[in-house]
């Protein structure tokens, strides 16, 4: 049964709706449960009788809620369906034939197509029709199977990256001939020959419905280089309104991840099928681009791959002599620069500077000797595919390079001296070039008659010489020789790169030869002659959706087909690797013009949209459940029980929530501790000592810091709070102005991270007092265990040069005037950052104008902490010296501590007093 857009699977169930009014009356008669209330005034109520025995009725809205729930259940069980699919035509009996264009142009609409196909197939399942699927890109004899079988295979179908060719269509016509079927043809909207014939054949079989998306198809032609920019051209099938598309240039970023390197907007004018734009990219970025893609078009036609033709090659030019004073035309690099500048990026600089930039070509013009390191680097670079282009010259001729035995970076051995022909002092005429042989990369280049060679270096006849020569003079002497090294090669021009030895650099031939050597590359696709007979191996191929896939075991392709054939199943778009370069084969060539299909007037063309069939039963039942839940809540609320229920829910929620919170609290305990510690240290002055792991030593250090803190508190305006022990690995150091580091032989070496923190700490103005506690018996040498440990510990630290504390160091007068720094021991030597070498004592000044900052380390061995240490009651913990002299020593050690902390906190303030006389003088006193 169908009501508007609704259909019902079991319409008879709806009769039950008539019972709703009865239910209303029944529900109304049942009284709600009594509410229990606490009420002190009940004493006054006792004995009161109800006048009326009828109770209050259930509120009407609660009844309505329940009615709605019941109605939703009844309707839901009746199986309502929105937009029920009904048979649209009468040809129920005949099998269904689904024809797919299946080309790259179908890929864009593939999700919609497969959805529609799914719907068609499920319809066919219901109608028990058999189905066959014909893919025009790969026509196979029709196999009629149940629709269910096809449905399971539907996911296996995917559009391919080529189009059905004329012979494919002809084959399809033969296949479908004389079968009685109803046809659904999923078209990609592109015109191609043979389509009409197939349509006629299908129409003869039965009704044909063509499904075609009305959205115009946009495809991208291969990128070209024009005036130094990349020219991108997009085409569309239907020339409709003006439209802007974005073309993304994809490539690897320096980190190696694929990303969008640039975006170019292209504007289709209204009515125009073509949009063109120029993209200007730096050479670095241009070399990184691997493909261009129209954003939002998910098909292979919207993708165009790039190959070497887009790259500007990087050429490093290095000359043997740099005579800046010389004439520009005599510069060994002048002609090279002229020849290469339009097509390549030129690098200059020393060899070791340019090699890390990994240029494509390195040109060495008359460079004879290379250092061992440079040679090793150059060989390494060449083996990885670099092209080393060398030119001869006076230096090379005069050197011993490749004389006795072949230099690894020279293609041939050279004879000493070279030769000169056609000069004033020689017989004979300047030599001309012989025509290039077939094997030479220069073959086919025409020789201008005016190219002559008057001087050259001569190759030593060797067994390998003949195969290394790629150009020679008319008398057979090699002019250009080549040797392969690893993946790269070395090419030697036996003449100079300027016009000194030959007129070659002056001719157009020079540029063509450089081009052939792929020094410069402005060639797009090689022409047919070049490609004939070569075999190209696919590396990566595009699938229909425009994604690159590994080519796997696809066979190699004859080069001639690149020019002659169109894309087909055995010539897929993608990246191909040839003898010495890579080629990108794209779906559109520069000449392709996309054309929309024009169907005969009799054809039924519909879109891909289709209202989906939506069963509503589940939703209705869910709504009924929701209504019943609402009814429960409302009933609870009416009977006054909602409050406890809410409380219970709240308690439950709180319980659930509290569990993770408690766990979290336990976890964050330690970090909280750290934070609290840092907070405390940053809100007060805190003296800190480094925890050594020796508990007795740590306690003594702690007591020492406490004693020093107490002394500071009583005598100065520095009022430190309770000292802390600092764990180098876990604690933040930056908050402590001063660290006391007692040395024990067996304390652990801090980790690298801790050293990083320590160095940061020292650099940013912190101070560490190292105390070997051994009275410096060894003079901080390696002969005491503590001294050795100190050396070990301090080795990774960023400590400036040190010196024994000079008599005029600011530490001697920051608070007390001191010359000795005793602790428990009375060793004199304490080391601090050394004064700058230019510090000199000015006549009449009591001390030098010394370093302007706090010394980052103070190193001594007097066990100060022991002298400073007091217990909780303020009594000294360790005996110092003997009798009153000992007390005096303790007092001095406290004074040192006070001076030290004052130095840490006030820096060179006391040192500035050196300026007091000058200041007074300036004030006129």
């Amino acid at each position: 049964m169908i009501l508007g857009p609704l259909g019902f699977a079991a319409p008879w169930l709806l009769v039950a709706l008539a019972a709703l009014p009865v239910l209303w009356l029944i529900l109304r008669a049942v009284p709600p449960a009594p509410i229990r209330r606490r009420f002190p005034g009940v004493a006054l109520l006792l004995g009161l009788r109800d006048d009326d025995s009828v109770t209050d009725r259930t509120p009407w809205w609660l009844l309505l809620l329940r009615m709605l729930a019941v109605a939703a259940v009844i309707t839901g069980l009746a199986g309502p369906v929105l937009n029920p699919q009904t048979e649209q035509n009468d040809s129920t009996g005949s099998p269904l034939l689904v024809v797919l264009d299946n080309s790259w142009a179908s890929a864009r609409d593939w999700p919609a197509q497969s959805e529609l196909m799914e719907a068609l197939l499920s319809e066919a399942v219901r109608a028990s029709r058999t189905v066959a699927v014909l893919r025009l890109t790969d026509p196979e004899p029709l196999v009629f199977q149940t629709a269910d079988a096809w449905r399971s295979r539907l996911t296996g179908l995917a559009p391919v990256s080529w189009e059905p060719g004329p012979q494919d269509l002809a084959e399809a016509v033969a296949i479908v001939a004389d079968t009685n079927v109803e046809t659904r043809w999923f078209s990609d909207g592109l015109a191609r020959t043979g389509r009409d014939a197939l349509f006629d054949a299908l129409s003869a079989n039965g009704p044909v419905t063509i499904h075609e998306s009305a959205v115009p198809l946009i495809a991208l032609s291969p990128a070209e280089v024009a005036e130094g920019n990349i020219r991108l051209t997009a085409q569309r099938v239907r020339t409709t309104a003006a439209r802007e598309i974005m073309v993304d240039a994809h490539g690897r970023d320096p980190a190696g991840a694929m990303t969008v390197l640039a975006t170019l907007p292209l504007q289709f004018e209204a009515g125009s099928p073509v949009a063109t734009g120029d993209l200007s990219l730096p050479a670095e970025l241009r070399a990184r681009v691997t493909r261009f893609e129209i954003a939002g078009q998910r098909h292979a036609g919207a993708v165009t791959l790039t190959d070497d033709s887009l790259k500007r090659r990087e050429v490093a030019l290095i000359a043997g002599r740099e005579d800046r004073e010389g004439l520009e035309l005599l510069s060994p690099l002048h002609y090279l620069r002229q020849a290469l500048e339009p097509t390549a990026e030129l690098l200059s600089g020393s060899l070791s500077d340019v090699l890390p930039a990994n240029p494509d070509v390195v040109v060495l013009a008359d460079v004879a000797t290379l250092s061992d390191a440079e040679q090793a680097q150059l060989i390494d670079w060449t083996e990885r595919g670099g092209l080393l282009l060398r030119f001869a010259g006076p230096r090379l001729a005069a050197s011993d390079v490749s004389r006795a035995q072949e230099d690894p970076l020279m293609p041939v051995r050279l004879r000493a001296g070279g030769r000169t022909v056609g000069g004033a002092m020689s017989w004979g005429e300047p030599k001309a070039l012989a025509s290039f042989s077939e094997e030479s990369p220069f073959s086919g280049l025409t020789l201008p008659p005016d190219v002559t060679v008057s001087a050259q270096v001569m190759a030593q006849p060797d067994p390998t010489l003949a195969q290394r020569v790629i150009a020679q003079l008319t008398d057979g002497t090699p002019l250009v020789t080549r040797k392969r090294i690893g993946a790269g090669q070395v090419v030697l021009f036996h003449v100079t790169a300027n016009a000194e030895w030959s007129t070659l650099p002056l001719s157009g031939l020079f540029v063509q030869m450089l081009e052939r050597l792929a020094v410069s590359s402005s060639i797009a696709l090689p022409d047919l002659d070049e490609l004939t007979g070569t075999t190209w191996q696919p590396v990566q191929v595009l699938n229909g959706f425009g994604t690159l896939e590994d080519a796997g075991t696809l066979p190699g392709v004859d080069g001639a087909r690149f020019v002659q054939d169109r894309i087909a199943s055995d010539l897929r778009p993608g990246l191909y690797e040839g003898p010495d370069r890579r080629l990108a084969l794209n779906i559109l060539t520069g000449q392709t013009v996309l054309e929309g299909v024009t169907w005969p007037g009799t054809a039924t063309v519909v879109g891909l949209e289709r209202a989906a069939e939506t069963p509503l039963g589940g939703w209705l039942l869910a709504a009924a459940l929701m209504l019943l839940v609402a009814d429960v809540v409302a009933s609870l609320a009416l009977s006054g029980r909602l409050i406890p229920a809410r409380a219970a829910v709240g308690a439950l929620a709180a319980l659930l929530l509290s569990a993770p919170i408690m766990a979290e609290a336990q976890q964050s305990d330690t970090s909280l501790d750290d934070d609290a510690k840092a907070l405390l240290a940053s809100s007060e002055v805190v003296l800190a000592h480094i925890l050594t792991g020796d508990s007795r030593l740590d306690e003594a250090a702690h007591a020492g810091m406490r004693g020093l803190g107490e002394t500071l508190y009583f005598r100065t305006s520095v009022e430190p709070s309770e000292p802390v022990g600092v764990n180098l690995e876990t604690d933040e150091l930056a908050v402590y102005p001063f660290l006391y580091w007692p040395i024990t032989p067996d304390q652990p070496i801090p980790s690298d991270v801790a050293y990083l923190k320590l160095n940061d700490y020292l650099r940013t103005g912190g101070m560490i007092l190292f105390d070997t506690r051994d009275a410096n018996v060894s003079g901080f040498g390696a002969s005491s265990a503590n001294g050795r440990k100190l050396q070990q510990l301090a080795a990774p630290l960023d400590i400036p040069p040190l010196e024994p504390i000079p008599a005029d160091h600011v530490l001697t007068r920051t608070f007390y005037l001191l010359q000795d720094f005793p602790g428990r021991h009375t060793g004199r030597s304490v080391w601090v950052e050394s004064a700058p070498p230019d510090a000199e004592q000015v006549e009449g000044m009591p001390f030098r104008n010394l370093n302007d900052n706090v010394t980052p380390v103070v190193i001594g061995g007097n066990d100060w902490a022991a002298a400073w240490a007091i217990d909780e009651l303020g009594n000294p913990l360790f005996p110092i010296g003997r009798g009153f002299a000992g007390e005096r020593q303790r007092e001095l050690s406290y004074r040192f501590g006070v001076n030290l902390v004052m130095h840490v906190l006030t820096g060179n303030y006391k040192s500035d007093q050196v300026h007091v006389p000058a200041l007074l003088d300036r004030l006129g006193q």
Binding site: I35, R37, F39, P40, V42, D51, T55, D56
Partner: protein, 292 residues
Amino acid sequence: MNQTAQFRARAETEAARLPALLARAEHLAGTVLLGEHGRRRPGMGDDFWQYRPMQPGDELRMIDWRRSARSDTQFLRQREWQIAQSVTIWVDGAASMRFASSDDVPRKADRARLLALAIAILLNRAGERTGLAGTDVPPRRGEAQIERLALALARDSDEDYGAPQTRGMMSHGRALFLSDFLGDIGAVRDALTEAADRGVQGVVYQILDPAEESFPYRGRTIFESVGGTLAHETLKASELRARYLDRLARRKDELERLCATTGWLFATHHTSQTAQSALLWLYNAFDGGHGR
């Protein structure tokens, strides 16, 4: 103990807003204990009041010889009459007082205890002695007494409805009953009668929740007392409203009548009103706002 301290602090806050309260001392006998405030009439006390000529009936030993020597007649020296009044407070601690109809109003017991302690503090400040009826806290003065009162007031009793206590009530003193008076009226009647017999006058202060005054209930309901001993089921609570209000009005009338008979004052306070207004009313009631 913390709760007690909090309670004390709140009561102090309430009491701080009123001047020292002088309870009226109408009666002489029995409770004459010297207090701070003179009665502006001769009597027992420490301070000099006046010399008066000797009259027949005065005893010879009462003559002030020093004054009499300066003239021909004999004078007596009279002192100002100074007394302190005893006020006995009874606060209903029964379960019915532990009721609040919503979160916005305090429980009746809380309000009653607050008022009791506040008035006790005021009386103490005025030099009166306060105690709790029915407990072992007899009328005394001093800060310590306030502590004792606060402790004693915090005690709850288990019964459903409280009955006024007269134990510990000083004869001819004053008394204050704080309760909802929803329980047995007979107990109230007995207590008031006994108090009147002992010459005690005072205030019956009824504290009610707004819900008890308005009866905003509807539908099928089982009403239970707070202690759970009494229950009443009705099918239509809204039908009961008029009759309940009628009964409540009659209960108030009866209390009023009892008070009029025994010379007490009667007033009703709702927990939705402020404690300040209640304390002001009590202040007036004890200070003699009745024209004396």
